[in-house]
């Protein structure tokens, strides 16, 4: 490090960490794509699918391995909740719930990597391989702390709610329900308004809950990273342990609410 280079102030450090690796780099408004979110979530998704498919292919009835049992525990947990809550018939809801749970756990778990580890690696690669200014190499490792990822998932769930409603009640039945429930046909506009608020508040609350938790977690880890190195573990260890609970709890809540919303969609009013 040269003598002229100064250490970043707390707010510069955090702002640097809150900037996504994006294309175009100067930001293109609506068409900005956050490449770090995209690649990290894609890679983690393939890791989940690959690991689970591998376990399923090698599954043994006699003397199952430890890892197979672990995977079975997760699947049975999801399956049990589905049986309790979801009473309709659907082939995609079980894989959907399992995917949501495991994928979000994996994405949230990126929080446990040291805050500076992957950004520093990216900085080294960016500076030495691509000849970029190391201060303009940005990387945010936790995909769920990016508002785009959180809303992408919750809006997909909303689309599924509409699809499930239509497939359970038919297009006419769903339209009728939108206009007649809960107050009856006389108050059709009020019903429609209420139903729309109900439908649109679901993705909002789902996404913001996940996002808020992960964003706060990430920020606290950054604050801890700015402490002197000899007190970092004293703050970092309790927060990391507490964060394990939050990470799994938020994935679990996202999954449970998806199941609940979808089961409400297929039930008659």
């Amino acid at each position: 490090m040269s003598a002229t280079e100064h250490l970043p102030t707390p707010s510069e450090y955090i702002q640097h960490h809150l900037m996504n690796w994006r294309t175009p780099p100067e930001g293109g408004g609506f068409w900005t794509i956050h490449l770090d979110t995209f690649w990290v979530s894609l890679i983690l998704g393939f890791i989940f699918v690959g690991v689970f498919a591998n376990v399923a292919r090698k599954a043994k009835l006699e003397a199952p391995g430890r890892f197979q049992l672990f995977v079975e525990v997760i699947i049975e947990m999801v399956d049990q909740h589905l049986k309790e809550v979801f009473h309709g018939k659907s082939k995609i809801i079980a894989p959907l719930a399992l995917t949501i749970f495991c994928w979000i756990v994996l994405m949230n778990s990126m929080d446990f990597l040291p805050v500076d580890f992957l950004p520093k690696v990216a900085q080294l690669i960016g500076a030495n391989v691509f000849g970029m200014d190391p201060h303009h190499v940005y990387l945010r490792v936790v995909p769920t702390a990016d508002i785009n990822q959180a809303f992408a998932m919750s809006l997909s769930v909303t689309v599924l709610i509409v699809v499930f409603s239509i497939s359970a009640k038919g297009f006419g039945g769903y339209t009728k329900e939108l206009f007649t429930a809960p107050f009856g046909p006389a108050l059709a506009p009020a019903n429609f308004l209420l139903q729309m608020v109900e439908l649109l508040s679901k993705p909002l609350s789902l996404a913001l809950r996940l996002l808020g938790n992960m964003f706060a977690g990430e920020l606290v880890f950054m604050l801890i990273a700015m402490l002197p190195w000899y007190v970092q573990w004293a703050a970092g260890a309790p927060w990391a342990i507490f964060h394990i609970l939050i990470v799994i709890l938020q994935a679990y809540i996202f999954m449970m609410l998806t199941i609940v919303y979808l089961s409400l969609a297929v039930e008659d009013h």
Binding site: S11, R209, N213, A216, L223, I246, L249, Y252
Partner: protein, 90 residues
């Protein structure tokens, strides 16, 4: 640096806002989690066989209650370190 007074003004109001946000949300979340916990203990002591069924629901609701608090902490920390309100001045 002619805007120093303006910046100080925005920052002082932001600090008050952050304090209010985190403080009030903390009070709310604490009361909420306490209510959930006490009702869970009540239910579990009345019907111990229901404990297994109640526990996941306890965690879900505690997570839901906690989320509002955490969201407000996140917004508060965001305002503290990357204040978007200062952009109007700079």
């Amino acid at each position: 640096m002619e805007n120093l007074a303006l910046i100080a003004n925005v920052q002082s109001f932001t600090v008050i806002a952050i304090g209010l946000m985190i403080g009030l949300a903390g009070v709310g979340a604490a009361i909420g989690v306490a209510l959930v916990g006490s009702k869970f203990l009540e239910g579990a002591s009345r019907q111990p066989e229901m404990m297994g069924a109640l526990q996941p629901k306890l965690f879900v609701i505690a997570g839901l209650v906690d989320a509002i608090f955490i969201i407000s902490v996140a917004v508060g920390l965001f305002l503290a370190f990357a204040n978007p309100l200062l952009a109007a001045i700079k």
